[in-house]
């Protein structure tokens, strides 16, 4: 077959374009943006609570949410809970003891013997009574898939990091750092990273209460991580209506306080008591009253002779 000169030129041009144009393609990212309606927590809550949202079941969630639900099912020995649809905020579902099972209990089941048969042949448990957890090894690939399909799925990173740390702290740290790279504003990731790092240091250090200088600097680096989590949490925490705020659930509040308390305690133990005292005062002013933090502050006050 004869190939004409113009055809040959055209093919060469395509080849050159094929090899060189990726430099242009890499700049085209139309779907990377912030502030879309679908990302707004309020809109998510409204959608999930609506009758249509419930009717569509899993279709309303993203692929990563579906995968995350799979991890919960694996964790609970195959029992599927209603947490994602019954409870609106992703932050507050975790181990919600009030969560209903997808297969309803005898009291709530209108189906009579059909429901009884379903409860006999499928994994089912009384709502609110979690079955014994597995060691979490089977969950790990699902968390990995969830974060691959949605790198902004913070819940999958924090839960995955926790379960991974039960098997390997260093792997969990890499996983959480990847999460932070993708979600630099997620305070829960800083908190989980701090917890895993501290756990790792506890294993490595023979005497945590009398560390060497090198160990002390490592512990202070962990304190920095907690501090970062606390600062971000306070930035994101709503000013009022904490108990019924749609985007700030029970877990977000407890996570925020954990980060605040740990940053002060670690600063007190391994850093400067004066700085810890100032930090506790600042946090109490910003976040409101807290018995544990107040107690730490009182101890610091006595220690410093103030």
């Amino acid at each position: 077959m004869q190939v004409s000169l113009s055809q040959r030129r055209f093919r060469w041009a395509l080849l050159v374009g094929f090899l060189c144009l990726p430099a242009l393609w890499s700049r085209l990212t139309p779907n990377q943006y912030r502030g879309g309606r679908s990302e707004a927590k309020e809109a998510q809550v409204t959608r999930n609570a609506s009758a249509i949202g419930r009717m569509f079941g899993l279709f309303r969630t993203s692929m990563s949410d579906m995968i995350l639900l799979k991890t919960e099912s694996y964790l609970h020995g195959g029992v599927n809970y209603f947490a994602h649809t019954a409870d609106s905020s992703l932050d507050s579902q975790g181990h919600n003891n009030q969560a209903d099972t997808l297969i309803p209990s005898p009291e709530k089941d209108y189906r009579g013997w059909v429901g009884k048969v379903e409860r006999e042949i499928k994994p089912w448990n009384i709502a609110g009574q979690h079955v014994t957890h597995t060691d979490g090894r089977q969950l790990l690939p699902w968390f990995r898939l969830a974060t691959l399909s949605d790198p902004h799925h913070v819940h999958a990173y924090t839960s995955g990091g926790y379960w991974l740390s039960r098997h390997s702290d260093s792997e969990a740290i890499v996983y959480l750092e990847e999460g932070l790279h993708n979600n630099p504003e997620a305070f829960q990731l800083y908190l989980t990273l701090g917890q895993v790092r501290l756990k790792q240091l506890r294993k490595e250090m023979p005497n945590l209460f009398d560390p060497t200088e090198a160990e002390r600097s490592q512990l202070l680096a962990v304190q920095e991580t907690y501090l970062k989590a606390a600062e971000l949490a306070l930035d994101q925490r709503p000013q009022s209506d904490l108990t019924s705020h749609p985007t700030w659930g029970y877990y977000a509040e407890t996570d925020a306080w954990t980060a605040i308390r740990m940053s002060v305690i670690l600063e007190h133990t391994y850093g400067s008591p004066e700085k810890a005292y100032r930090l506790s005062g600042r946090f109490l002013n910003l976040a409101g009253d807290d018995l544990h933090l107040q107690e730490t502050r009182n101890n610091l006050k006595l220690e410093l002779g103030l």
Binding site: L14, L21, P22, S26, L28, P30, N31, R47, R60, S149
Partner: protein, 259 residues
């Protein structure tokens, strides 16, 4: 020129006759119809929250995108292999039809079928789903154009795959590229991150068309503004370039093939 158009037209008609005779289009139309009727019913009962209406709108547009691409994939992947299998390619090529025109006819017909299906489904969704929030009309048009270019690119990619791979494998690759491209790319990136190969892997990934970039549905329903003109032009250029590349490779493969 006239002769070329006639040849392409002739081949295209064959594809359209097959499209009408097969069940694919009707099944997809029924599915989108059921979705529309369900939405109309809920509209009648009352959709109170704008977020719920937008969710339905997004779902409808996404289904239109998926169904139109599925139709193109199912249509294009079996064209050349079936013609070879049934030996119907011989009477076609016995006419004064060049092999390149034969391929162009197949590609064009599948692309047009997908574009018309998409247009029809989107119209149905726009008619049945209430729009309770503000959306950018310019972005809607941009999305429409990019979707059409994506369907033609999908058709070209399917044509090339059907020439070099078995039908089932080609279809699997097309579906993978459409549905789980991002997770796969994410996996490759995370496996190579931090290593010496990172830059090379990133460059290698960009050598293949990314259909997710040509789908602006979620950006549209998220209430964002239209894309800047250079970005939009770049995306169109990307689709056209990969389309030309696939067609050129298809022609090269098919010309060399002994029938």
């Amino acid at each position: 020129m006239n002769r070329t158009r006639q040849n392409i037209d002739l081949i295209s008609r064959g594809v359209w006759i097959e499209l009408i005779r097969k069940k694919d289009l009707y099944v997809l139309a029924m599915l989108i119809g059921v979705f529309g009727i369900g939405t109309l019913t809920s509209h009648f009962v009352g959709i109170e929250e704008p977020a719920t209406a937008t969710f339905l709108f997004n779902m409808g547009l996404t289904l239109s995108h998926l169904f139109a691409h599925s139709l193109v994939a199912l249509l294009i992947i079996r064209q050349v292999p079936n013609d070879l299998e049934n030996r119907s390619i011989y009477p076609i090529l016995a006419r004064p039809i060049r092999r390149a025109h034969y391929l162009l006819g197949k590609w064009w017909a599948a692309g047009i079928s997908g574009a018309l299906t998409y247009g029809l489904f989107v119209t149905w969704i726009c008619l049945t789903v209430p729009r309770m929030e503000e959306f950018s009309r310019a972005l809607f048009l941009q999305n429409l154009l990019l979707q059409i270019s994506s369907l033609f690119l999908f058709s070209a990619a399917g044509l090339l795959l059907s020439l070099v791979l078995p039908k089932a494998v080609g279809l699997l690759i097309l579906v993978t590229a459409l549905l789980i491209y991002q997770p796969i790319i994410g996996l490759i990136r995370s496996l190579s991150s931090g290593g010496a190969w990172t830059a090379l892997v990133n460059w290698f990934i960009l050598l293949w068309p990314d259909f997710t970039k040509l789908n602006l549905t979620t950006r549209f329903t998220d209430g964002l503004d239209a894309l800047p003109l250079p970005v939009f032009a770049g995306l169109l250029l990307q689709a056209v370039f990969f389309c030309l590349l696939c067609l050129s490779r298809s022609q090269a493969c098919f010309e060399r093939r002994s029938l």
